[in-house]
Amino acid sequence: MERTIRVLVAKPGLDGHDRGAKVIARALRDAGMEVIYTGLRQTPEQIVNAAIQEDADVIAMSILSGAHNHLFPRVLELLKDKGVDDVLVIGGGVIPDDDIPGLKAAGIAEVFTPGTPTSATIDFIRNNLKRKA
C-alpha cells in the first residue's frame, strides 16, 4: 500500500488571511494526504514541535503579511536545532520573487506565489519528499 503523506499546514505570524491555507488543506486532503491543520497565529516553535509530534513529512506554511523573511528561516533553524533533517518545508503567500533565492538558501524547498494551481503544490510534494520509507 502507498504510504500516506502527512502534511502540517500552518499560518505563522499574525496574518489572518487563511483562504489560501484552507484551500490548499482541502486540495491536499482530496489528493489523499493527511493534513494537520494548525490554524492562525502560530509561532515557529509551535509549528516545529507540532510537526515533530505529528511526524509530518511536510511543513507547508503560508504568509501574506510580508513577515516571511523572518518567520520561514526561523522554522528551519529550529528544525535544525532539533536534528530534524528529513521534513520537506514549503512556503506560499504574497512573496516577492527577489526574496525567493534567500528563502531557498535557508532551506525552504519551494515557494508558491499567488496563482499557483494547487495541483502544482501536490505534485511538488509527491516528487520531493525527503523520506521515502
Partner: protein, 555 residues
Amino acid sequence: MNDMDAMEKAAGAYQAGVEKTLSKFPERKKEFVTGSKSPVGRLYTPLETKKIDYLRDIGFPGEFPYTRGVQNTMYRGRLWTMRQYAGFSTAEESNKRYKFLLEQGTTGLSVAFDLPTQIGYDSDHPLSQGEVGKVGVAIDSLADMEILFDGIPMDKVSTSMTINAPAAILLAMYIVVAEKQGIAPGKLNGTIQNDILKEYVARGTYIFPPEPSMRLITDIFAYCATDVSSWNTISISGYHIREAGSTASQEVAFTIADGIAYVDAAIKAGLDIDDFGPRLSFFFNAHNDLFEEVAKFRAARRVWSRIMKERFGAKNPKSMMLRFHTQTGGSTLTAQQPDNNIVRVAIQALAAVLGGTQSLHTNSKDEAMALPTEASVRIALRTQQVIAHESGAAETVDPLAGSYYVESLTDRIQEEAEGYIAKIDAMGGAVKAIERGYIQQEIQDAAYAYQMDIESGERVVVGMNKFQVREDPPKGLLRVDPAVGEQQTKKLQALKARRDNGKVAVTLATLKAAAIGSDNLMPPILDAVRVYATLGEICDVLREVFGEYQQKVIL
C-alpha cells in the same frame, strides 16, 4: 405600458429563431454564469422584470428603499470620496505617504495598521517579530499617532481607520491628537472599521471573545452618539468576506447579518436605533463581473433599508440608508502580467461607481506581490479620476437602473441574501452562526469551488491560466526596512522612560475596574491614552478581564 401578451408572443418567436441558430451555430458554452457562478440567461426582457413594482422595489434616489442610491443627486452634487488605503513602516514614513496622497488629489485618508497594532501587541512583543510596519503603520502609543497626523488638518480631511479589535483605543488616540491640534471631537469626520464579527469569519485580527467585543462596539456607539457625532462608528464589512472567497450574494447576506447583530446588541445595550443607526456604514468589495457587482450594491441598499425600517422600526431615513465604501477586489489581482490588473481595477471601480458607492479605494497593480509603490498608487488613483471626469458614469444617477438584466440580478441577489439571512436568524443570529462555523463553512466551500474552477480552466483568469507569457520578475517593489521593529522598540523604551508611569498605572487600574463592571469603556481608555499608556498595555488589561477568542475552524 408593455402589452405582456404581445411580449410573450414575440419572445416565443425569438426563441424559435434562437433554436434555429443554435442548430447551426452552437453557443460558446453550455452554461453561462456570473462571476459568482449564478446562471445567466441569454436575454433579459420586460418578462423577467414584470414582478417589479417600481415604487416599492426601486423608487427614487434618496428615497426608500434606496435601491437607486442614498442621495437624490448622487455624484452630480459631489463625487465619491477617493480614499486610498495606505500605511506602512513607521508613523514618520506613513505621514509622508499621506501628504503625497493629499497632494495627488485624494480626498480622504485611509490608515492601514500593521498586524501587531491590529491585534493589540506592542512592537516589542515576541509575537510582533517580523511583523512590525509590514502591512501597515506601527502604532504603539499616542506618541506615534501624533507623528502620523503631524501637519495634516484633522478638521478638513476625513480619516478611515482599518482597526477592529482595538478600535476604541485607536479612536481615542485620534480624538486626543485632534484635541492637541485644537479641534473638538464633534468636528471630526471619519470611520473606524470596528467590525469584529467579520474578523472571526474572514480576516483574523480578533482579540477578545464575541461578548466583550460586542460590548466594546456598543460602548463606542454610545460614546460617539453624544461626543463624536459625525464619526462613522462602524464599517460593517463584506470586503473581507468576499476576499475569503464568498459569492456576491453571500457577501451581502453575511455583511447584513453582521449588521443585524450589531443593531441587536446596541438596542439591547439601551441605545435608540435612530441615535446610532445613521452612523452605521458599510464596506464592500468590487469584483470583475460588472453587472453582478452593480446589482449587488443596489440589492444591499434595498435589503438593509427594509430591515432597518420593518424589523427595527427606524424612523429616521438616515438610519435606513446603507452608505458604503468600496475597495476593488484584491483577490482578483494576479501576480502574472501585473499590468492587466490596471484593467481589472478599472472595471471594478466602474462597478462601484455605477453601484453608487460613497467612497472608493482602487487597488494598485502590484498588490498581489507586495505593498504598492508610489507610481502604482498614482495609476490606481488616476483610474478613479478618469471614471469620475471622462467616463460619463458620474453624470446621471444610477445609470443602469431599468436594465432588464441588472434589475433581474438585483432581485436575485436580494432573494438569495434574504434566504441566507433567514437561515442565520433561525440559528439565533450572526454570532451564533459564527460560533457554529456555519458562515465560515459557506465561505470556504465557495472559495474551494472557485479555485477548482480556475484549475479546471472553467474560469478563465487572463494571464494566469490562459494567455500566459514568460516574464521576468517585477522590479522595484516596495520593501519595508526590517529595522523598523528595532526602531519602534527603541521608541517604546524611550517613551516608557519619559512618561509618568505612576499615572499610567492608575489609569490602567481604573480601566480594569470599568472592564470588570459595566461602565462605558471609552472614557477610561481616553484617560489611559492621554498619559501615553501603550496599546499593548491597554489590551493586556482587557485580555486579562475578557479572555481571548479561540479560532473556530471548520474545514
